[in-house]
């Protein structure tokens, strides 16, 4: 290890050249005596919370108008559907309210997050995180968690308005405490993965929009009237299980067992989706 090596910055061959008659441009630089100590890496949770906090602060400024758009869109859909769907705890009314509430999560978590990561990647913003000693999962999870928590007021307002509009019981709305983070994880993970894997930011935006449209159509419409292929598509959509869980709690006597199963599936989909996002991040950051 010790010793002196002559490193030349020579044009042409670029090979290290010993001193002497050869043309040498550059300088003799001795080998490092011993490697410098590595600075500590950031651990997962502190890094995640730092990213979360930073993202939430930017969301406060930049995303509030979009949250209004998301909420009004969902409320508008419910008002429209109120014209054709009878109030009361029928399947249709429950599907409309549950679907419209989870749509807020899809708008922010899937659509906006796909756009965010698509643009971040295209503009070289990932380099900033990639040259910091953070676990990739911390960045993806921190951003996704911030986007998901940002949907909370919108979902609550939508679910409350819908329940009143369609005369559904409010007693089961506490299940939103589980539905928002779990479907948030599933949709935000998917949104992040789309944004990070799309070759161009425009494609990320299109994918996010399509995902949100799917969440709208397959979430708001009652599943029993759908043709079989659409039902399959509905089963594949990560937000479906959150919608199902919320739908069940609007029944006069909810079947809590099936609600728990739905939430369990939602959690599993969320884990898979976030793992996919973390993989996509590593893939995008180390080109």
């Amino acid at each position: 290890m010790r010793g002196v090596s002559t490193l030349s910055a020579e044009a042409g061959t670029g090979r290290p050249t010993a001193g002497g008659g050869e043309p040498v441009v550059g300088a003799t630089v001795p080998e490092a005596a011993e490697p410098a100590e590595l600075a500590p890496a950031a651990r997962l949770w502190p890094a995640l919370s730092a990213v979360y906090r930073a993202q939430l602060s930017r969301a406060r400024v930049a995303r509030i108008p979009l949250l209004f758009v998301a909420t009004f869109q969902s409320i508008g859909i419910m008002v429209l559907m109120r014209g054709v769907v009878a109030a009361g705890p029928g399947e249709e009314a429950r599907a409309v309210v549950a679907g419209a509430s989870v749509l807020v999560v899809a708008f922010v978590g899937l659509n906006l997050l796909a756009q965010y990561f698509g643009q971040l990647r295209a503009a070289g913003g990932l380099d900033h995180y990639a040259t910091l000693p953070v676990p990739p999962a911390a960045v993806v999870l921190g951003v996704a968690a911030a986007y998901a928590s940002f949907t909370v007021p919108g979902v609550l307002v939508t679910a409350l308005t819908g329940s009143l509009l369609f005369q559904l019981p409010l007693t089961g709305l506490w299940v939103l405490l589980a539905v928002i983070p779990l479907s948030g994880a599933a949709l935000a993970g998917l949104g992040a993965a789309l944004g990070l894997l799309a070759p161009r930011p425009e494609l990320a935006t299109v994918c996010g929009q399509l995902g949100m449209s799917a969440a709208l159509l397959l979430g708001v419409l009652p599943p029993s009237g759908m043709p079989l292929p659409l039902q399959w598509a509905r089963d594949l959509l990560p937000s479906t299980y959150g919608v199902e869980a919320l739908m069940a709690t609007f029944e006069p006597a909810p079947d809590w067992g099936s609600v728990m199963v739905d939430l369990g599936v939602c959690a599993a989909v969320g884990v898979v989706s976030l793992l996919l996002a973390a993989w996509a991040y590593r893939h995008a950051a180390r080109r």
Binding site: G12, P16, A27, L38, A42, D127, H128, P133
Partner: protein
Amino acid sequence: METGARHSKTVDGNAEDTVSAAGTAHAAAGPAPAAITVTDLVKTYPARRARRGRPVAEPVRASDGISLGVRRGEVFGLLGPNGAGKSTLVRQLTGLLRPDSGEIHVLGHDLVRHPQRAARLLAYLGQETTALDELSVLLAAETTARLRGLAADAARAEATAVLAELGLTPLAERPLKRLSGGERRLAHVAAALVGERGLLVLDEPTTGMDPLARRAVWAAIDRRRAERGTTVLLVTHNVIEAETVLDRVAVIDQGRVIACDTPGGLKALVGDDVRLDLVWRSEPPLHVPEVAALEGQAQRTGRRWTLRLSPADARAAVTAVTSGPAFAALDDFTLATPSLEDVYLALGGSGEGLVRM
């Protein structure tokens, strides 16, 4: 062992012995160990397939056998026009890009084998940092510090201190995207400086900054170098900046290092030649014989002629163009001693686009 005087020669073997200031400084206490050694680095961007309306893009050899060494505590520059391969080189040094072949050692660590160590050895300021744009200046620096592994209190304290050091305290609560270009760049520098790192890799850090902000940046970097022995690798295409702040500079062109020495040593390569710039009001007065004689040697950029002449020839040329009909046609002229730009051109640099400001 290294001696104070180093041999510094051009590519074509045009020898010129120079004593480097850095070399003599280190000679007394023994040479400083290496911060960066790069050996025979090659990186080729693959050819892109032809698509509708777009022809086949040839593969680009962005690093074409680059070797260089940077000592600890040195401010080392990479100078060259846009597209010369400077950013490709630093992206490999920061672990963002994998070289096709070659070796990279940073502060004694093999970064080709362990690219993930780069983040724990160095701080990198890229050309574009959109990741922080919607955060406030303080939060951008603080978050970056936390992601460099600092605890919450330490991150806040260090971010506040760096903001004060760079004169950013009045802007601390403003989001980056509401700042002017130079202020935003200064906030990016603040984010790069928080959390101590032995090596700072800065890709055109002072772009768009006013002189005051530039001075603040260089003062902050000097302080780190004096107090902690920080090494700085600076990418620039600004020759004036390169001449004033760098200990040594590698001139990069088409993915190769075409020269590497102190700014003074490099300037000595072009000898005594001076540069004469003539700006004509409209057409050059070619009917004046002295002007017609200069035409062949002039590099033309619009109404501007740039000439590289011996001092005697330059004096004669100035006398000729500052009298009679030539003077009537002359809008402006400048006579200057060689700059790194002249070095670059004299070494056969192929591109244009170095900035002098």
